[in-house]
Symmetry: D2
């Protein structure tokens, strides 16, 4: 209706446009004219040409991947890129020649792991991702395989009414390991779910110093600390007692794991926070860090992990819309608030 | 440094300027150029002229109020407005004549209750509030009385370095009671902390239907439901198990009270959410609603409360800055993460 | 096998025997020879003669009640007692004459509410209760109606192998209201689930003083305090964050409701505790107390509720055995630890 | 008063008597005549002769240990046994000859770690332990060093009024590792706090099968599972969300660590439970087990840990009495329910 649109090309190399609406402070008074977070819609300036097709590791889903690739290539006339390990199979499909072209969007087959993999492939801006679960339960994979043709056509040509499809811009966290106060070369990681600093298999609880904008906020004595995105709020952070946060809330969750004090509680920072988790020089033991559950490595005394919002969110295409998909995931994956109807006890 | 400022008059009647910085999506790529939430600074276009001075109810703090009023009037040459009940006392101070002038800022003496009272006095935009605790513990009252002259001077004339003072724009929620699907006249309430729907003293748990943008999200069977602002996240919502949320995060906390299912968990919505809590037609009992712990009233079967972000936040002047004040409050008021140093058990 | 039995008549007026085994401290050393809590088996010295048949209130389940009554009367030759309100219906069944005889066991039709009602009917010792759920979900009603004949025959004649049936002795709490330090006449209540002191619809949190053996343990500032039996641990206490306790653990759960401090946590007392919850003289408001969710009444400033274990537990006949029935209830009623199988996120 | 005493020698080799009182089911009715758990008092048949003096590892507290040893030896005429590593120091004290005599009680200097060490020294029955903290915070060390002479005299000669001192019999858990269904030789461990099975530094959550009396109760997908004694309930189990249980409650706490489902919750078993935590044959990874935070070792697929109550509790001498000492520990060590007095928010 009265939405003001900010149009833009999709990624630096893309043909798409994301229309968003942000909270503006009206200039003549201290008034919010709109909430900060709204539906975001992907629409293309010109029809997308190239898709990157990803599938879960191993021999599973090969037939499905071939089927989708054929559909996109023969019926939608798209260039279909695949990863090296599935390249040979697709190479047998006629016309799959030189694949070094740019990607307009990514199609994933499998569970959340495939999307986490896509997140790792792109260092800078990420094209929109549409993900089909095939029996896997996943928070990020709201599309079922049965409707793949219809769903892919909507991504490419737009839903008739919207002139686009709803997408969720999923914040990522940029994490950097420092030693002796200096960034270590090659130690920058983007995470979609969470970064975790924990005691590994050390017998003693970690004491972790937590800084925000270089100011010591607190010392946490616990099995570890999770810093999660809203997307990751329903994964490990929830297991450690964190709240479940809608992906449109621009924030970071700071969730201690089994804190060794009764008065600890999860804390949620704005996305402007610059966090640092540091292993004190006088810590009893080393600690460990992992990024989206992978790339686990040791932190020595004095090491730290610096965490801020990544400039490059991961856009995921919604099945319905942002809030509909999210609550559907809560129910489907976590049985959130489900119970048999019962008489009051 | 490279902050881009959006300048604006302070309130419709004010002489101040709030400089803020919002997250912009760069137009040519899907990239966040800045986080959405940043420090906000209050600076005045011209020196403020009028202050509203509020104190806690009752006979306490009268001397302190006189002292502050005298300081502002004689030394700072400001117009000092007071509420009717303390008006007579101040009327004895020479020069307190016609008080029907506009307010540039509000000074509060007492705990959080005085700020909640200020929040109620202003229906539309609210001028900045500076609050002095006098022994009361409060989340919103970070200034101590000892430094009141220095602190007030900084509000009026600016901190030398900043050309202003840091403020926190505290989101409020606009709540409206509906009956038979129609808004009830006179039943609109703005809250700074939270709105609560509960079973009151009914023996049976409430079953509350929860809608977001008119879509049924879930049915909660519980003692009640809290919808809180980030400011209210450290009050009742925390007691019910909610996370503690920095006031700069644009969101609403949805926190069930003693939910009657193991799989319930607090949920955090973006500030664009339009929530509705409805007592079903077939509920066993009526329910109750309260606003910032006040104005408690009954909800009949079929009634609902509609909740969205208010366009008018409450700006509070920080003692240090937004994050410093907040963590200081967590520690001061809740003993957050405090413990005696101890050997690992 | 090598179980040592303590035999005893079932209730003062019963024909049954309960064999139990308790933890003995061996006399010549500081050694537990057996854990304190073991399977308890009900066996009869002579075949039971009289049953009290209870059903849920209202017109439901009348046919089922008639069917069970007929079975017990005609086939098992038992005297069948019913409550006044269903008495007239049963009176039409030939042979239901004078009903003022003693009860050997109680048969309940309906949910947990019927058992709570049975608990209220007996001030002193309670005969064993066998309970059939009929569509109602209940923690205490493990028997389904389909097998009622077989199940009742086992209660009466014993399971072939056991020479009896497993029962769970469910602890009850004896609660007494005091005013000005003196027990109020007629204000003694036995509860099977929990006693709750709360703020009712008062706006302010209750501050409740908690004593154990007349020693002040803590002051709780909260919406209220629950003192629950293990049986009640899976009801309101769980909703307030308490652990789920097997009914054989001799203890009382002390569970604050929405405590207004981060460092509060549920506490579990031994069954030897003598608790007292007191409304301080200087409380802001009165409070309320309820017993198993019923008989709600006001507590004035200075009033207190004294709580200790009741000498009279409520014995419930198990479907399988104590632990099997309990975990089956956790799963059936609370979906405890249920989830769809999922890939690690 | 009307306490019925069960007298017994203190350990097989001791001169002491523990008087306890257990819940008896009256023989002629289904009635508890007394709660199961009561104050326990240590009194000696003849004055104790031999004390084992333990101190924390390292060079600390040597002076204090000498002081206590001298007091017990010269003034109380006791035999004082020490561990090998401090033996040489004590050997210089005249009269410390042959030390292979029996121990009447143990005196510990240091924190809870020294008591855990004492627990490990005794495979069978354990003599009473009196523990002095020296600046260390500890749950089990309620005696301060300043009063050591008075406190030791009371242990030896009895408090004038009681003819003994209060003690707490602290349950221990007997844990045994099985491989291929068979107990592994030498793999039996007694724990005073807890046994933990966890995923160590494996990236994947453990799925642990939980049996009670050989019946599958549930499968836990989590970072791990804690089985704790009441003594251990205030240690790691509390950090993982478990309730705090008075040491007189005869039970085992089953507390999942970061369970990967919303509907999980800690469960408390009676002390008659026979638990088994098993790594399934098809688990993704091995797991780890540790006993009181020590003796960490790997569990292969198919391995399990069998857990039951140990026949040998650890008796600790109370400073005041069981409940007084416990609440004092909660407050001292965990700041339980502590907060500054505050206005209602």
């Amino acid at each position: 209706a009265n939405m003001e649109l900010i149009e833009g090309n999709m990624c630096t190399f893309s043909t798409g446009v994301v229309r968003v609406q942000s909270r503006k402070k009206a200039e003549s008074s201290l008034t919010f004219t709109d909430p900060s977070t709204q539906q975001q819609i992907l629409s293309w300036k010109s029809t997308p040409k190239t898709v990157l097709l990803l599938k879960k590791l191993g021999q599973e889903l090969l037939e499905e991947a071939k089927e989708v690739a054929s559909f996109l290539y023969y019926q939608e006339k798209m260039n279909v890129l695949v990863e090296p390990e599935v390249h040979d199979i697709f190479a047998q499909i006629p016309g799959f020649g030189d694949l070094h072209e740019r990607v307009d969007f990514v199609a994933c087959l499998g569970g959340d792991g495939v999307i986490l993999h896509a997140s790792k492939l792109f260092r800078g801006a990420i094209p929109p991702v549409v993900s089909f679960n095939l029996g896997s339960l996943g928070f990020l994979t709201s599309h079922t395989f049965e409707d793949y043709k219809k769903d892919l056509r909507q991504v490419i040509h737009g839903d008739g009414t919207l002139d686009g499809v709803y997408i969720t811009l999923r914040m990522r966290l940029q994490c950097e390991i420092s030693r002796n106060g200096k960034a270590m070369p090659g130690k920058v990681f983007d995470v979609l779910n969470e970064v975790v600093v924990d005691r590994g298999s050390n017998p003693y609880l970690s004491k972790i110093e937590c800084y925000e904008h270089d100011r010591l906020i607190t010392k946490v004595q616990a099995d570890g600390v999770i810093v999660a995105t809203p997307t990751g709020s329903t994964a490990y952070s929830t297991a450690a007692g964190g709240s479940m946060v809608h992906p449109n809330v621009p924030c970071m969750l700071f969730t201690p794991i089994c804190p060794h004090t009764l008065s600890s509680r999860p804390v949620i920072f704005p996305d402007s926070a610059k966090l640092e988790l540091k292993i004190p020089e006088d810590a009893r033991d080393n600690a460990w860090v992992s990024f989206d559950g992978k790339r686990r490595q040791e932190l020595l005394r004095g090491d730290s992990v610096r965490i801020c919002v990544s400039p490059h969110p991961l856009p995921t295409v919604n099945k319905y819309d942002q809030t509909g998909d999210w609550f559907s995931s809560l129910t489907r994956c976590l049985n959130w608030n489900q119970r048999l109807e019962q008489k009051a006890l």
